[in-house]
Amino acid sequence: MASPTVMCPDVELRSELERRGAGSAARCFQCATCSSVCDLVTTDATFPRRQMLWAQWGFVDRLVADPTLWLCHQCNDCTARCPRDARPGDVLQVLRALMIERLAAPRFMARLVGRAAVTWPVLVGLPILFWAALIFATTGFGSPGVPLVYGEVVPHWTIYAVFFPAAAFAVAASGAGARRYWRAWRSDEASRGSPLKELAGVAKEILIHSRFARCREARPRQLGHLALLWGFLGAALTSGLIVVAMYGLGEELPLPQAHPFKILGNVSAALLVVGISWLLATRLLGSRAGASQAYDSFFLGLVTVLVATGVAVEIARYVFPAWLAIGLYVVHLGIVLALFVTFPYSKFAHALYRTLAMAQERLAAKRRPQ
């Protein structure tokens, strides 16, 4: 046996979990019902029992380096069946939040987003104020014509000037987090190799949500999430295509409603609306979906406001007075900026970490001697 692990009962972790709403981990008595009912557990990745045990003993370093945390889709099959009401699904959720906070760089940003329950007015308000100030400084909100063309009030160059650096920041910060995460599991023999080769397979799993579909308690949520994912992908694609339309095809903005790119954008918007409504409904109505903490609520709130303002901005052009439409547009831009900047620290980062974890698990499964 390896040399013994020396430790003290980590009361700090207990307190931290308690503060974040996962104090229920203390109730676990290791019956392993959670791991038995979980449909995502494989021989290469066992959870949540192991993580519950580590949480009890206070092995925080192991927890934040454990990629299997991300294989959990928080369907809460385990929470629904836990005989001690230890809520393993929620505990794992909190541990994921904790992990993001420990891995992401820079640290102060991670802490800021990690305390979103308190800091959210800053996280949302600052980007909106920033945009308002920028527009005031450039066009002074001008005197828009009728019908309203947003480009006249918010010049395209400001969009590029803000979002390209913001995206670059998000990529750089996420990359730093991903690298730390990567190193943590590289010490594991079974995980040697590049998970990048597995990304195609992972992408297929993600696009049809084949893994998420195995979660019984969360089946309704999974459909909402699928709609939201496709809506996001559609919206991202539309953004790219519009740049192509403007500079490649020389089209004038706004595009007419019958334009194929516009249709794609509207379909994406519809998917986003359906998806986010669905998810909000499962959170509000489904008691078994698990407790929502700030980590979850902040991200969900951002996406909700993003979708709501996005759709509102499109309609406002035609029906609202110009000042209201522009006001909504400023909020929308602020939310997009907030989403970009908080990506590496918010629940949004699950797109990164879960993808990597799934690749790692596929790799481990391949390397396991048959």
Binding site: P4, T5, C8, V11, R14, L53, G58
Partner: protein, 749 residues
């Protein structure tokens, strides 16, 4: 008895499955002075006819051939001192378990009736020996169980004398202010009920409290105990009707737990020592006198471990949780960790466990503590077998060992063996004898001077110790019972338990004490032969002083005079009949259960000739579990082998070997004894009956071999009360085994 009346009930399928005319002829042929058949004997009319016949003096014995004696008891019970009643269970043993109208069924019924009439002829009427009894209850031990027993007995209108050896009442609990919860919602500490109970006892005029007092001597029998107590130099004598021993338990000696650092490291203490510190509101036990920051509790310290206490003490987990919560509330900065093998919180304490689990400063984890070593002021606790699957070292400032409970009881039989050995050494009869005696004395030396009750009983001065040294009867059906009638164990001396259970025990034992006093006053036995007024008769002229009866009586009923002749104490007697089974001279008999009566029943079985191919099996069934199981099997219409003839015995220990010889010499093919389980998980209602029967039967089988009879012709089967489905198979398998042996060669001689 001389004038036997036979009443045949033809209800409940009996009449339909049997030829009743033949039974009537049989009854007359066996000398019955009265025969009547009734379609429903337990009806008002039927009972009236029975009563008229019995009370009119026409008969002095009733043979009621109807249902099993376990049914319809209110209807078929008459004054036992005036009329003997023999119940023949035709309904269960014939009508409901064998094919109707079959030749074998009829033969079975006739055999059973013949056996019943024979027995009725051979029984005697018992005389009710009511005597003066003392109603005082003596309670030994002033802890919670004893106090509760004293209060309960006083509440049942008994004068009580409470004897406590220390100067104060309260026992272990006097060091605790709060206890684990005993009432809903079971999630917080509760103030100890002890102070209120002590002042209630002190102020109760019915209860005499003798502190600083020990028992010098107890003689007599239930209802008539003579107690001598010693208080300093003063001696006092009084009478008592029953005794409750509530002497509690002691913590397991932690000095034997050196691998856990006890005795070597100052900051390794026991639960009891932490309780003292908590009572002083002082946690400063670590070197340097600083209060500890991290406390680690080791559960099962010396428990569930074959080299220490093999059992679980049931209470230590609750005690640790209690201490953890008290520390959490009183010393908020202190962190606690509990390493357990299984956290056991029986009953409602699970709620308490969960409440403590919610406390943020408590870590509860599974594992085995392999060692505790010192490292400056900090202790290193090595934990293995944790769920983590790896060895972990934990650091702590204070380690608390949750030690188990050892009964504070004396082993009466061991003390007697020690005294006997010493006497043999003094006598110094031969070199080898002296050596053997010296060895015995050395091995029992630890029992020297441990006496608590100082009984004058022949079998020893204290209660016999049963499993793990607890004097409790151990079997779940008989709580508080010990192997001394009229002396009941309550609280932790009976088994490891917490305060709430000990208080409940006090109530239970007080009720048993009250019960035995009233039964003694009526001259009746107590459980399981409650209401039996017949006492054993020893025909001492033929006694050879072999001492088997005085040795084997499970209840210490018999004392001895100098020559070794048994001296019977009827109020100690439970009427199990184990002395009857033991006696080689067959001089012990009860009015309705004697060697002669049962032998007569065996001889009443008609054994067909070999060529008729109708073997006969005698089945002796214990009346406590096996016979009720048989009755219930019949109730479920189980069918069994028609060759079997059942006789109910008081206990397998109450089977005299001569009956087996009688049966086999009459040509009966085999003898089956069905009784309660023996061994450490025994279910024998007389504790040792089954065990003794097995030993005696081994000797019988040797004898059979010498007589060139197969030892397989006698078989002992253990049957629990709920194992009725096994009964038909037990009989069938035995019949097959006997068929393989062939018929009894003694048939027809």
């Amino acid at each position: 008895m001389e004038r036997i009346g036979v009443f045949l009930c033809t209800g409940c399928d009996i009449g339909a499955s049997l030829e009743t005319g033949a039974l009537a002829a049989l009854a007359k042929g066996r000398g019955a002075v009265h025969f009547a058949a009734h379609a429903c004997l337990c009806s008002q009319e039927g009972v009236a006819s029975l009563r008229a016949t019995a009370e009119g003096g026409a008969v002095d014995a009733l043979v009621i051939a109807a249902c099993s004696g376990r049914h319809k008891q209110p209807e078929f019970t008459f004054d036992p001192a005036r009329v003997a009643v023999e119940r023949v269970g035709l309904r269960e043993q014939v009508a409901w378990s064998h094919p109707s109208g079959h030749e074998d069924t009829q033969m079975l019924a006739e055999d059973l009736l013949r056996m019943g009439i024979t027995r009725a002829a051979k029984v005697r009427l018992p005389q009710r020996a009511a005597d003066h009894v003392e109603r005082t209850v003596l309670v030994v031990g002033g802890g919670l169980a004893g106090l509760q027993a004293a209060q309960a007995a006083a509440g049942l209108d008994h004068p009580v004398v409470l004897v406590e050896k220390t100067a104060e009442l309260g026992g272990y609990l006097s060091r605790l202010t709060d206890l684990v919860p005993a009432a809903p919602p079971y999630d917080r500490l509760e103030p100890s009920p002890l102070p209120a109970l002590v002042s209630a006892i002190r102020g109760d005029p019915r209860i005499r409290v003798l502190t600083g007092t020990r028992i010098a001597r107890i003689s007599g029998q239930p209802g008539q105990f003579v107690i001598e107590v010693e208080r300093g130099d003063a001696r006092e004598q009084f009478n008592a009707g029953a005794i409750v021993q509530a002497t509690g338990a002691l913590p397991y000696d932690a000095a034997r737990l050196s691998h856990l650092g006890y005795g070597q490291l100052r900051n390794v203490i026991t639960t009891g020592e932490l309780d003292l510190s908590l009572a002083r509101r002082d946690l400063a036990r670590v070197p340097g006198g600083k209060p500890p920051r991290r406390i680690l509790f080791v559960q099962c310290a010396g428990s569930r471990d074959d080299s220490h206490l093999p059992y679980c003490s049931n209470e230590c987990c609750g005690a640790t949780l209690r201490q953890v919560l008290a520390i959490h509330q009183g010393w908020p900065g202190v962190e606690c960790a509990v390493i357990y093998r299984d956290l056991r919180t029986p009953g409602q304490l699970e709620h308490f466990y969960r409440a403590v689990q919610e406390q943020t400063r408590v870590m509860l984890a599974r594992g085995t503590v392999a060692s505790v070593t010192g490292h400056g002021g900090t202790l290193q606790v090595s934990v293995r077998d944790s769920s983590l699957g790896e060895q972990v070292e934990l650091e702590a400032d204070l380690v608390v060992l949750a030690t188990g409970m050892v009964p504070n009881a004396a082993d009466g039989e061991a003390i007697r063996a020690l005294r006997d050995a010493k006497r043999r050494i003094e006598k110094n009869e031969s070199e080898t004898q002296r050596k053997a005696a010296e060895e015995t004395a050395a091995s029992l030396a630890r029992h020297e001077g441990t006496e608590i009750l100082n009984l004058t009983y022949r079998q020893g001065p204290d209660l016999p110790a049963l499993a793990h040294g607890f004097p409790n009867s151990h079997f779940i059906c008989f709580p508080y019972e010990t192997r001394r009638t009229g002396i009941y164990a309550a609280g932790a001396v009976r088994g490891p338990m917490d305060a709430a259970q000990a208080a409940e025990d006090g109530w239970g034992a007080a009720m048993k004490a009250s019960q035995v006093i009233s039964a003694a006053g009526r001259g009746e036995a107590v459980h399981p032969r409650a209401a039996d007024i017949g006492v054993a008769d020893f025909f001492l002229q033929r006694c050879t002083q072999c001492k088997r009866c005085t040795e084997e009586c499970p209840f210490g009923t018999l004392d001895e005079d100098e020559k070794g002749t048994p001296q019977y104490n009827p109020l100690r007697c439970r009427r199990c009949g184990i002395c009857l089974g033991a006696c080689p001279e067959r001089i012990v008999s009860y009015p309705d259960y004697s060697v002669d009566a049962i032998a007569g029943m065996i001889k009443a079985i008609e054994v067909p000739e070999e060529d008729e191919e109708k073997p006969r099996i005698l089945a002796l069934l214990c009346e406590n579990d096996a016979l009720p199981a048989l009755d219930d099997a019949a109730l479920g219409r189980a069918a069994w082998n028609p060759w079997v003839r059942v006789i109910s015995v008081r206990c397998l220990g109450a089977v005299n070997i001569v009956w087996i010889a009688d049966a086999l010499s009459r040509g009966i093919d085999g003898v089956l004894l069905v009784g309660c389980k023996r061994g450490s998980d025994y279910q024998c209602h007389y504790i040792q009956g089954s065990e003794l029967a097995h030993k005696r039967l081994e000797n019988v089988q040797e004898t059979l071999t010498r007589l060139s009879l197969e030892p397989e012709r006698v078989r002992v089967v253990e049957l629990a009360r709920n194992e009725l489905p096994r009964i038909p198979a037990i009989f069938d398998e035995y019949a097959e085994a006997l068929a393989a042996l062939g018929p009894n060669p003694l048939k027809g001689f």
